[in-house]
């Protein structure tokens, strides 16, 4: 589904990302871990064509993302609060995204109904604009918006951060379900090793922009990751 070839990104001669080869097959739940500055968000931004690669390219379903825009209809993402429109209420935001992705009101309502317990009564019908919601609730709204319109690829940057424990557990359920039963390719980055090993079939460790581990998740993965990160000195 997603092929990365010779990809690198540098700012003023400093390389922040350098991935020779990375293939993510369709329907995989893919986890990206690494310390601050490892290049996780940079990789996702390149994947969404928000920044230009210095060398190399990414193909999303055989579409070259830096050349064509045809990847947009089947790809969705939530990276940070710049993906939210602050002056809309949550419902208005969902309908707006829905319209952009060819879903009418009923479709969107049907999707939202599935997430009622995820929202925990704090998102819908709140008489509040998104900018006035708490960080955690903003994140919930952004993540659910990324699920609207049956995307085939979903990219979530640190989806677990800022969420309460109940929601974290529910989100894990949602992500697993997407990959297993619906064949959606899910890309997740996280600082939480436990969550990421729980959710992802495959985990890639980035360090200073390079892939240094590529693991198929098993019983031993969490131990291995913990051992690895306790040895790494924070840069």
């Amino acid at each position: 589904m997603i092929t990365t070839t010779n990809l690198s990104k540098s700012y003023n001669g400093v390389t922040v990302l350098n991935i020779e080869n990375l293939d993510i097959p369709k329907g995989q739940s893919f986890g990206l871990v690494g310390n601050n500055g490892a290049g996780k968000t940079t990789y996702f931004s390149l994947l969404l064509d928000l920044i230009q690669p210095t060398t190399g390219h990414i193909k999303n379903n055989n579409v070259l993302v830096s050349e064509s825009e045809d990847w947009k209809p089947f790809t969705s993402a939530f990276i940070d609060e710049t993906f939210l429109i602050g002056y809309l209420t949550a419902e208005e935001y969902f309908y707006f995204i829905g319209e952009l992705r060819g879903q009418n009101k009923q479709d969107v309502d049907a999707i939202l109904a599935q997430f009622e317990d995820f929202f925990h009564g704090e998102i819908l019908k709140q008489k509040k604009y998104l900018r006035d919601l708490s960080k955690g609730n903003q994140k919930k709204a952004g993540i659910v918006a990324a699920l609207i319109g049956n995307p085939e690829v979903i990219i979530l940057d640190e989806p677990f951060a800022n969420l309460d424990p109940t929601t974290q557990i529910r989100l894990k359920g949602i992500i697993k379900d997407l990959a297993k039963t619906q064949g959606v390719t899910v890309l997740v980055s996280s600082h939480d090793l436990l969550h990421v090993t729980d959710v992802c079939e495959r985990i890639v460790v980035l360090e200073k922009g390079e892939v240094i581990k590529d693991l198929a998740t098993s019983e031993a993965t969490l131990k291995e990751l913990e051992a690895h990160f306790s040895g790494v000195t924070e840069s």
């Binding site: 969404l48 064509d49 928000l50 920044i51 230009q52 947009k72 209809p73 790809t75 969705s76 993402a77 990276i79 940070d80 710049t82 993906f83 939210l84 429109i85 602050g86 002056y87 809309l88 209420t89 419902e91 208005e92 707006f96 995204i97 319209e99 952009l100 992705r101 709140q126 008489k127 509040k128 604009y129 900018r131 006035d132």
Partner: protein, 491 residues
């Protein structure tokens, strides 16, 4: 301690994003500020003689008469532009500083603000002239002067209370307009009652103690108000709007554009910055009065009519249109990773500008009072605006990469980054070209042909809409990464 505060302020001032402009612009800014002060001094000195010559042999009387309006307008301007001291306080809260210290520093800071100092540049020279030239007693002038000083500080502290209370603000504006209207039509003249008060400060200088004490009381009140509300969930809390939802189903008739159109209308309705733009475009409607009433001599030529017409109908078009992708800067990454059809996105902004232009033209129908030529200029200007300027403005906007903070009014009155060679060049087709076209027609046959030619050009420009949108789309795509990077730098 004070030293630390001051150095913090100093850094926040000089390291703010707006100061990161190139040297040439910095010099221009300094020269501009210098001239502004020079003018204030000039007016302060000159006002006495001008009023004496033209209006009344006793300038003090005239000034006293209008002081009430001067003070109210001062309050309005402060409301719009003067920032509250609470900003930047949050990070200080948990540090080992006395709350009283922080609060009094915040309030003292407002006292030495530009808004207080500016008045000094007018009133100090004026007072000196009063003594030297007017032959008034020093003590009387001093009393009057100190009273005014007290009143301006009162305004300063009142502003701290009313800030972010829109109701208070709009009622002040309402009262101001009503009183002005009543005076104009000789129904009720408030100045009859207020002028003697100001005169009293002059006649009995010791009365100046009253406004000074009042200012001091207000200072204490402002202090205790802040001290009491010095908590994150009280005075320092962000104001939370109660959301209203609106389906705006009447917009569905615009088809696929309606998605964006609805969003844009919400954007305008729900954000402070965009609301200011709307207010400004209403002000532009009255801009033409300077031209058609003959108030300003320089503007009397027939070509200026077209110039006025363009501005009257196009206030919104210019103030909104020139920032077109920037209005969406806060969520530009979302827009860029969604399945957006640029043409519909642009078309929605275009419709908005067209609707606003037509509305302004209808509102401006009172210009018929100044003769058919005046209103013809407005209508023709509107046609040119819709046909040509709407495209040019959108085109120019594609090059402006200033992120807009929708929730604050900062920079609403001009931004240095918006000033670059490309946008400057684009004012030629916007303003100069229609004047030239009109002039050609005017000299060949007369004003009729002039108006018709401008209108024809406007209609002609309409044909190029799709072509121009294609060009803008290309610019958007070419500049995408730069724009994304620029929008990321918030302050």
């Amino acid at each position: 301690m004070l030293k630390n505060f001051i150095s913090l302020e100093w850094k926040s001032f000089f390291r703010s994003a707006s100061f990161k402009v190139n040297l040439v612009l910095k010099i221009f800014m300094i020269i501009g500020a210098f001239f502004m002060l020079l003018y204030a001094v000039g007016i302060g000195i000159g006002a006495y003689f001008i009023i004496e010559e033209l209006v009344d042999p006793n300038p003090l009387k005239v000034i006293n008469k209008y002081l009430i309006f001067y003070l109210t307008v001062d309050l309005v301007i402060r409301y719009f532009l003067q920032k509250m001291p609470i900003v930047n306080i949050k990070p200080l809260l948990y540090l080992p500083l006395q709350k009283n210290q922080i609060v009094s520093f915040g309030i003292n800071k407002t006292m030495i603000s530009f808004f207080n100092i500016l008045h000094g540049f007018f009133f100090i020279p004026f007072s000196i002239v009063l003594i030297v030239k007017g032959g008034h007693e020093f003590v009387n002038v001093l009393g009057w002067h100190l009273a005014l000083l007290g009143l301006f500080f009162c305004n300063n502290f009142i502003n701290i209370f009313v800030n972010s209370k829109d109701v208070v603000f709009y009622s002040i504006i309402g009262i101001l307009i009503t009183l002005g209207g009543l005076i104009y039509y000789d129904i009720f003249d408030i100045t009859v009652y207020t002028a003697p008060i100001f005169q009293a400060f002059f006649d009995r200088p010791y009365l100046a103690i009253i406004p000074l004490v009042l200012a001091f009381v207000l200072y204490k009140m402002a202090f205790s108000y802040f001290r009491k509300n010095f908590y994150l969930d009280a005075g320092l809390a962000k104001k939370v709007d109660i959301a209203e939802t609106d389906n705006m189903s009447w917009l569905d008739r615009f088809g696929s554009v309606s998605t964006f159109l609805k969003n844009d209308i919400k954007l305008i309705k729900r954000n402070k910055r965009s609301k200011t733009t709307v207010i400004m475009s209403v002000v532009f409607i009255f801009y033409g009065l300077l031209f058609f009433t003959g108030a300003v001599e320089v503007y009397d030529g027939p070509f200026w009519r077209v110039f006025a017409g363009i501005f009257i109908s196009g206030g919104f078009l210019f103030s909104f249109g020139q920032f077109v992708p920037s209005w969406d800067s806060a969520y530009y990454p979302l827009m860029m990773s969604q399945n957006i059809r640029y043409k519909e996105y642009l078309e929605s902004k275009w419709y908005l500008m067209v609707i606003a232009t037509i509305a302004s033209t209808l509102l401006a129908s009172f210009y018929l009072y100044f003769g058919w030529q005046a209103y013809a200029a407005v209508v023709v200007g509107a046609i040119y605006n819709i046909g040509v300027n709407s495209h040019v403005v959108l085109w120019g906007g594609a090059y402006i990469k200033t992120p807009i903070d929708l929730t604050s009014n900062k920079k609403a009155f001009g931004d240095k980054k918006a000033f670059n060679v490309k946008t400057l060049l684009l004012t030629i087709p916007k303003l100069v070209l229609p004047m030239i076209i009109y002039a050609v027609g005017h000299f060949i046959q007369g004003e009729m042909l002039g108006f018709v030619l401008v209108a024809v050009f406007g209609l002609f420009g309409f044909l190029f809409k799709n072509k121009v949108f294609e060009i803008i789309e290309k610019i958007y795509k070419a500049e995408k990464y730069k724009t994304l990077a620029a929008y990321k730098q918030n302050n």
